[in-house]
Amino acid sequence: MLNIGVLKEGVVIDHIQVGGAMKIYEYLNLEKLDCSVAIIKNARSNKMGKKDIIKIEGPFDIDLNVLGVLDHKITINIIKDNEIVEKRILSLPEKVTNIIKCKNPRCITTIEQDLPHTFRLTDRENRIYRCIYCESKFKGN
C-alpha cells in the first residue's frame, strides 16, 4: 500500500466508500485547515475490497458524528504519540446544519440563500434525515 507517512498525532477517517473521500473533504471544509491532510483513494481493504481514507495531522476540533449521516461504515481512529488512543463509533446526530443540502427544487432553500440547510433525523434505524422545511429525504451511503 502507498505509504503516506506515519501520523504522530491526528485523525484517520477510515473505511470510506470508494469515491467518497472528496465529498467528505468538502463536507468537513478540510480545505480551510492549515495542517497536512492526505486523501488516499482506492486503498486495498480486506473488508471492503477497496476503500478511501483521509488522514489529518494534528489536533482536530470538528464534530465527526456528521460523518455518520453521510456514510455509516466509516470508522474514526484518533492518534496520539503514534498510537491509536481511541476508535470512535459514529452516532447519528438528531439534527445537522449546513452539512448536507436539500436537493428538492421546490424547497424554500432554493430561493432563500441565507437559510441554513437543516435536517432532522426522522428514522434512526434506516438513517433517514429530512429537511426541516420541505421534509425531503436525505439518505447517506
Binding site: 428538492n104 427544487p105 421546490r106 424547497c107 430561493i111 426541516i132 420541505c134
Partner: protein, 304 residues
C-alpha cells in the same frame, strides 16, 4: 403561541375540538359574529389562489375581524427580494394572525420560526395544505357523522396533490380507515407516504388504476385535479391530465350514500353532469371550509 403548518401539528383531540367548534359555528353563525372584533388577519399569498384566500377572508369577516394582505408575489416586497423571514417580522406588527400561501415548500415553516403571530399554512408548493384537510375532515364528519370506519377513494394526481397527502396523514389516525388510491402509474402517492405512513401504520390500502372496479366499496370519493403548475414538463402534463374523469356513468357504480369531494378548482375531472347528483358535495365542502377556518382562527387566537 401556536401555528398550523402541517395537519399533524394538531393532536386528534385538538382536531376534534376544531371540527366540533366548526360544526357549532355552522349551526349558529350569529353567535360568533363579533368574537374577533378588533383583530386583523393578514393574507400573505405569494401565488394566486382566489378560493383559499377569499375563504380565509370570509372566515375572519364572519368573526367580526378585519383583513389585509397581498395576493401575488408581484404585488409584495418579495418582488424586491425580501426574505420570508423579514416579511413576517414586519407583518407581525401589523396583524394578529396570518395565512400564508407560497409556491416553495417549507416557506410557512420559515415564517413560523420568525413570527410573533400565529402562522397558518395556506398551501406550500406540493407539500402541505392543512386548512384544506380541515375542510375535508369537517365535510366528511358532518355528512357521515364519523371519521373512523370509512373507505376513502382518492383519485387523480396522488403524487403532487398535497391535499391528498395531508388528508391521508390526518385520517390514518382514526381507526379502521381504508384507502383506495386510484391514479395513473406516474402519479401514484410518493414513496415516503406509502412506506412511512401507510405501511408503518399498517393501514389497509389498495393502489389501482381502475376506478369503476372499486367504486361500489367507497364511502367517500376524493377527486383531484392534475395540476399544470406542479409539472416541469408540459408534455407529461398533457399526457396525464385527462386520466380519470368522473361522469354520470361511473357514478352509477357508487353506493347511494357515497359522497364525492373535490378540493376545487375543478377543470374537467368531474363532468358537470355530476353536479346535480345529491352525492356531489364539493360546493357544500367549500362552504364548510369557511366554518372550519373560523374555528381555526378562534383556536389559534385563543378565543375559543
Amino acid at each position: 403561541m401556536k401555528h398550523l403548518i402541517s395537519p399533524l401539528d394538531l393532536s386528534v383531540e385538538e382536531l376534534d375540538h376544531i371540527l366540533s367548534l366548526g360544526q357549532e359555528i355552522m349551526k349558529n353563525p350569529e353567535k360568533y359574529s363579533h368574537i374577533c372584533e378588533g383583530k386583523k388577519l393578514a393574507t400573505l399569498f405569494y401565488e394566486p389562489s382566489t378560493r383559499t384566500r377569499l375563504s380565509f377572508e370570509a372566515a375572519m369577516l364572519n368573526l367580526g375581524g378585519k383583513v389585509l394582505g397581498f395576493s401575488s408575489a408581484d404585488s409584495s416586497s418579495a418582488a424586491k427580494g425580501e426574505s420570508v423571514a423579514d416579511t413576517i417580522r414586519v407583518i407581525s406588527s401589523y396583524a394578529d394572525i396570518c395565512a400564508m400561501r407560497h409556491p416553495k415548500e417549507g416557506a410557512p415553516t420559515v415564517a413560523a420560526m420568525y413570527s410573533e403571530i400565529p402562522v397558518i399554512n395556506a398551501g406550500d408548493g406540493g407539500h402541505n395544505h392543512p386548512t384544506q384537510t380541515l375542510t375535508d375532515l369537517i365535510t366528511i364528519k358532518s355528512l357521515m357523522g364519523r371519521l373512523d370506519n370509512i373507505t376513502v377513494g382518492m383519485c387523480g394526481d396522488l403524487k403532487f396533490g398535497r391535499t391528498v397527502h395531508s388528508l391521508i396523514n390526518a385520517m390514518v389516525r382514526y381507526p379502521r380507515v381504508r384507502f383506495v388510491l386510484v391514479s395513473p402509474n406516474e402519479l401514484k402517492i410518493p414513496d415516503y407516504l406509502r412506506k412511512e405512513v401507510l405501511d408503518a401504520e399498517r393501514i389497509d390500502y389498495i393502489e389501482t388504476n381502475q376506478l369503476e372496479k372499486y367504486m361500489p366499496d367507497l364511502d367517500i370519493l376524493y377527486m383531484t385535479r392534475v395540476q399544470r403548475e406542479r409539472f416541469f414538463n408540459e408534455e407529461d402534463y398533457i399526457r396525464l391530465k385527462d386520466s380519470f374523469i368522473l361522469d354520470a356513468s361511473k357514478m352509477q357504480y357508487a353506493k347511494k350514500n357515497m359522497y364525492v369531494l373535490h378540493p376545487l378548482p375543478r377543470v374537467n375531472e368531474i363532468s358537470t353532469e355530476v353536479d346535480n347528483d345529491p352525492r356531489a358535495v364539493y360546493f357544500k365542502q367549500a362552504k364548510m371550509g369557511v366554518y372550519v377556518r373560523m374555528a381555526l382562527i378562534m383556536n389559534l387566537l385563543e378565543l375559543d
